[in-house]
Symmetry: C2
Subunit: 578 residues, 2 copies
C-alpha cells in the first residue's frame, strides 16, 4: 500500500473537542470520521486494526470450543418481551416499528437471540456444554456517548454465550473463558488489563468480572486493595463502615435550625463532625415516579448501581413537589409521609448520637440513634460508595485505593434468568426436565483498539503493538526525487511484498518532517528509511516507533532483516499470552 493513496485526512493540530488521547489520535490520524453522536465511520487503518483484533478474539474463542454463529442486528420485540427486558431496559434499548407496524429492537446484546437459536437443539443433557459466539454490530442508545470509540452508540462486539447443566460446569467454563480473555488482551498488547469483580446490572446473574485497563481517563472507578490485591468495580465493592459507638446514648430531640439546609450547614451549626450526621438523598422510580429516600452517614455517597440492584428498579434523582409531603432540607428517617420507599444504608448501623432532619420546616433532630430509634425489623442495606482508604472486604485492612479504568471486556455467570423466562429446558439423565444455566462473555472491538491506543502512544501518535498494527513496516523513501533512492526504495517495497510483509510505503516527494509526522500518526511499530545519506553507506535504517532501537542494515539484507524483526515482535505478542 502506498501512503499517497491512503484515503483519510491527517491533521497537524489536535482536535479541540477531544477529551482523551485515543480520541484525538483517531481523529488526527485519519482513523475515524464522525457521522453522528456516538456513531463513526472507520478508515482503512482502523479497519485493519479491528480486523486483527477480531481474528485474535476468534482464535481464542475457538480454542475454548466456541462456535462462531451470527444473530440479527434487528430483532422482533417479542423476543425481548419473552425475557422481560423489553419492559425493564430503559431508553438505551432502541425500539422501532417496521413497515408492517411490528415492534422491533436494535440488538445491544443477544442473550435472547442465543436462547432462541439453541432452544430446540439443546433439549437433552448430552448436547451440553457448548458455547456460541458472534462478532457483530450492536447499537446502544447511550444518553451521553463520549471519548471517541470508548463510549459509542454503534459498535462491533464479540459476544459469547455458554450453556451448562450445572453451576459447577458453568464455573469451570467461566474460568476457561477468564483465561482466554487474559490471552486476548495480552496478544492485543495490553497484558496489564486486570479483572475485577463487578456488578451484573441489567444482565442478571450473580458472579461477574470486568476486565479493566487502568488509566486516569477511564470512566469506571475500581476499588483495589493495596494490601491483598482484592479488586472490584465500585458497584460490586462492599462498603464496610465501622462506627465506634458513644458511651452514652443521647436523647432524641428537635433543634430549631433556621435557614439551614445542607448537611455541611447542619454540621457547622451544630458543631458536629459530618460523620455524626444522617443525610437523606431523594430519588424517584422511573416506572411510577414514586419516591425513594436513602439515608446514609453524612460522609458517604450513594452508589446508584447498588441502589438500583437492591430496588430491582431504575431510579432518577428526585424532584420534590409541594404536594409530596416532603420537606426539602429537613428530611429525616422518622415521621416521613406514607408511600415513600425508605432505604437505610449500612453506614448507619452502629452509629450513635447523629443529627438528622426532623421532617418539619426549619427543624433538625439530634440524638438520633438508628438502632434504638428505627423499627426493630429495619434492614441495613449497602448502597454506599466505598472511599479511598476504606476497609478491604477481603483482608479487612483500611487499604482500599480508588483507581480509574476502561472496561475492555466482561464475563457473567447468568444463571437461569434467560433460559427460565424463555422456557428453555432439557431432559437430564433421569429423564427429568431441567433448566440450563448460562454464561455470557463480551468484548467491544473498537473500544479495545482505543484502549490500546490510550496506553500505547506518545506525544506524536499511537505506538501499535505488532499483533494489531495496521501495517508491520512503514517504509520511507526520503528525497524520492533522487533516482537512486527511488530505485532502492521501490525495490525494497517489492521485496517486502514478496516476503508477505505488510508494508505501507511513503514515496511522496515531501519533507522529512511531513513524512515522519505522518508515520508517527499511523503508529506502525517498525520503520525503514531509504535516504541519500543511508545509501552512501549502502544501508537502510530500521528503527522502532517506540524508539527502543535503531540499526543500519545492508540494503541487500534489509527485507530479510525486517521480516525477521516482524516475526520476532509477533512472537513476543504471542508469548505474552502464555
Amino acid at each position: 500500500m502506498k501512503l499517497e493513496k491512503l484515503v483519510g485526512e491527517r491533521f497537524k493540530e489536535r482536535p479541540s473537542e477531544c477529551q482523551i488521547e485515543s480520541h484525538a489520535i483517531m481523529v488526527k490520524g485519519g482513523y475515524i470520521k464522525y457521522v453522528a453522536n456516538g456513531i463513526y465511520s472507520s478508515y482503512m487503518p482502523l479497519k485493519r486494526i479491528t480486523r486483527k483484533i477480531e481474528q485474535i478474539i476468534r482464535e481464542e474463542m475457538d480454542r475454548i470450543d466456541g462456535q462462531e454463529v451470527q444473530f440479527p442486528v434487528c430483532m422482533p420485540a417479542s423476543l425481548w418481551e419473552e425475557s422481560g427486558r423489553y419492559e425493564s431496559i430503559g431508553n438505551e434499548l432502541l425500539r422501532f416499528t417496521d413497515r408492517t407496524g411490528t415492534k422491533m429492537v436494535l440488538g445491544m446484546t443477544h442473550e435472547e437471540a442465543a436462547v432462541q437459536l439453541v432452544k430446540e437443539y439443546a433439549n437433552t443433557y448430552a448436547r451440553y456444554p457448548f458455547m456460541i459466539y458472534q462478532i457483530q454490530t450492536k447499537f446502544r442508545d447511550e444518553a451521553r456517548p463520549r471519548a471517541g470509540l470508548i463510549r459509542v452508540r454503534e459498535f462491533t462486539m464479540k459476544d459469547a454465550y455458554s450453556f451448562h447443566t450445572s453451576q459447577e460446569d458453568l464455573e469451570e467454563y467461566y474460568e476457561r473463558c477468564h483465561k482466554a480473555y487474559e490471552r486476548i488482551f495480552a496478544r492485543a498488547g495490553i497484558p496489564e488489563a486486570v479483572s475485577v469483580k463487578s456488578d451484573s446490572g441489567m444482565m442478571g446473574g450473580s458472579v461477574s468480572h470486568e476486565f479493566m485497563l487502568l488509566t486516569p481517563v477511564g470512566e469506571d472507578s475500581i476499588a483495589i486493595c493495596r494490601e491483598c490485591g482484592f479488586s472490584a468495580n465500585m458497584e460490586a465493592a462492599d462498603n464496610i463502615i465501622e462506627n465506634g459507638a458513644d458511651a452514652a446514648l443521647e436523647e432524641l430531640k428537635e433543634v430549631y435550625t433556621p435557614d439551614i439546609h445542607t448537611i455541611e450547614e447542619v454540621c457547622d451549626f451544630l458543631k458536629m463532625d459530618v460523620k455524626k450526621s444522617c443525610k437523606a438523598v431523594v430519588y424517584q422510580k422511573n416506572a411510577d415516579d414514586s419516591y425513594v429516600i436513602v439515608f446514609l452517614r453524612g460522609d458517604i455517597e450513594v452508589n446508584e448501581a447498588k441502589l438500583r440492584n437492591y430496588l430491582k428498579a431504575e431510579v432518577h434523582p428526585g424532584v420534590i413537589t409541594e404536594d409530596s409531603g416532603i420537606n426539602p432540607g429537613y428530611i429525616g428517617p422518622l415521621g416521613l409521609p406514607d408511600g415513600i420507599t425508605v432505604v437505610i444504608d449500612s453506614s448507619l448501623k452502629g452509629a450513635t448520637n447523629l443529627s438528622c432532619g426532623a421532617n418539619k420546616e426549619e427543624y433538625h433532630c439530634t440524638g438520633f440513634n438508628p438502632e434504638r430509634d428505627l423499627p426493630e425489623n429495619t434492614e441495613y442495606v449497602d448502597v454506599g460508595k466505598i472511599l479511598e482508604g476504606g476497609i478491604c472486604p477481603v483482608c479487612g485492612k483500611p487499604s482500599v485505593g480508588i483507581s480509574r479504568g476502561i472496561e475492555v471486556g466482561n464475563i457473567f455467570q447468568l444463571g437461569t434468568k434467560y433460559t427460565k423466562s424463555m422456557g428453555m429446558t432439557y431432559t437430564d439423565k433421569n429423564g427429568e426436565q431441567q433448566t440450563p444455566i448460562m454464561g455470557c462473555y463480551g468484548i467491544g472491538v473498537g473500544r479495545l483498539a482505543a484502549s490500546v491506543c490510550e496506553v500505547h502512544h506518545d506525544d506524536y501518535g499511537p505506538i501499535w503493538p505488532m499483533s494489531i498494527a495496521p501495517w508491520q513496516i512503514h517504509l520511507c523513501g526520503m528525497r524520492i526525487d533522487n533516482p537512486e533512492v527511488r530505485a532502492a526504495a521501490d525495490k525494497l517495497y517489492e521485496e517486502l511484498l514478496d516476503k508477505g510483509v505488510e508494508v505501507i510505503y511513503d514515496d511522496r516527494d515531501v519533507s522529512a518532517g511531513v513524512m515522519f509526522s505522518d508515520a508517527d500518526l499511523l503508529g506502525v511499530p517498525l520503520r525503514a528509511i531509504v535516504s541519500p545519506r543511508n545509501l552512501k553507506e549502502d544501508s537502510v535504517e530500521i528503527s522502532a516507533r517506540d524508539k527502543s532501537f535503531s540499526e543500519k542494515v545492508k540494503l541487500s539484507e534489509a527485507a530479510g532483516r525486517i521480516k525477521e524483526l516482524v516475526e520476532k515482535e509477533l512472537s513476543a505478542c504471542e508469548a505474552a499470552a502464555d
Copy 2:
C-alpha cells in the same frame, strides 16, 4: 470439530414452507434459523461459508486497489436528506428516531456515507481515483421477503464506492470491477454467473450491470438473445416493435360496444387481432395519487420499472373513483379529462387502424391512427415488456428469449448524483472546482451462498465447492464402537488437524444411514470413511460428495492424500477465475 458437538438441528423432512431448494436445505441442514420475517440467525456451518465468501470478495477488492473501511448501520436521516433519498425512497428504507428524537435510518446502501467519509479528503484531483468498500450488515424493509436467504430484510453485503475525475476513468475502473466480479463468482463456485445490462433504479446513474445466476427459481427476468448473446434485465431491455402499416388509414369513428370492457372482449366483438388494439393501463403516483394512463398495443404489457424511470416517480396500480372523470372499460387516448399524465408506449408508433376506448360509457373507437390522431409533439416512450421471440436491440433478429435468474451482484456507473447533491467537489489541474464521478458495486454475501447452493445440490443436500465449503473433509468413523475403528479414525483426525486440513469428524455411534444423511446435508466436498471393512484392507475410502470419484488409500497415506485432494480442488477453484 466433532460433529457431535455441532450446534444446530438437522431434520429428516423437507420443511413444507420452503419454496426453493436452497431455503429448504439451509433449514433442514442446520444452517439458518428463522427469527422474524426476512431475518435469520446463522449457525456455524453457514457462518464458515460466508466468512470464506467474504475473504474471497476482500481479496478481489484489494486486488483492484480497494480500501476496506466501515460505515455505520445506523445513520442520521440528515445524510439521506442531503442526497434527496430520504424523501424519494419508499418504506423499504427503515426510518426511526433515537432517544433524543433525532431522525435516523438503517443503512440499506451507503452512497451517502461514502461521500460523507471522503468529502474533505478528496478535495484535489491528485487524490483520484480511489475505491473504498465495506462488508457490513444492511437492512432493507422488504414488503415480501421470500425464499430463505435470497430475499431477506437483514443481510451482509459488500458495497464498494469508486470516485473519479472523468467518465473515461470511471469506465476503465468499472471494467476492472466487472472482471473482479467474474473472478469472485468463479472462485465461489458459480463461474456461470452472467452479467446483464440493467436498470439503475433508485441508485441513479446510467450504465449498470447485474450479475445473474440463471435458474428457473430466480425472481428476476432476463432477456437473452439466442443469436448474438446480448443480455439485459427486462427493465433495461428495449422493447422493439415493428408495426407494418396498413395501406389505407381508416376513418376514426365511435362504435357502440355494450357491456364490453376488456381488451379481449373488444377484439372479439370487433373481430380484430389484439395487435390491432390500443389498450389503457391506469396507475397513480404515490406522491399525490394523480392518475397516469399508459397506452400500449394490446399485446404488450407495461414494465413498471421502465415507467417509474420515465416518470422519475413511484406509481401504484390506479383505483378509478367516480369523480375522476375516467370511464373504466372505455378509456382511450383521445378526449381524456385534464390533469392526467398520458404515456404513449413506443409499441403504438407506426401502428394503424386500431381500436381504442372512446372515453364514453359503452363506446369504443375504430380507425385510431396514433400518428395521425395524436398531437404532433406526442412522445413515444418505451415502457413495454420485451416478449419471448422479441427483436434483439443489438442484432435486430427476433430471437430474444426470456430466462429467470438470481441477481448475485451489481455494478453501477452512478455519475454525479450523490456528489452533486451532497456538494462534494475537488480542484482540478487548472484550479477549477469540479464534481467527482462515482461508481458503486454490491454483492450480497448470504444470497451468494444461497445461490451457490441453488445450483450445486442434489436430492440429499448441498455440494459446496471446496473454496467456500464449511469444512474440507468429512471424516466418518463407521462402527466407532469397534476399538480399531476408534483408534484409526482418531489418529486420522489428529493427522488432518496437524496438516491444517479443516475437518469435521463424525465419531458418533450411529447407523451408516444417519451418518451419511448428515454428511450429505453438510455438503462437505470430500468424505473419508474409516470402517471395519476398509480397515481389513488397511485402507480408508475417500470419495467426493458429488460422486465424481471414490478411491481407497492406505491408512498411513490417507492424511497426505486428503491434503493433496483439498489443495487440488482449491487450485481448481482459483483456476476457474483466470
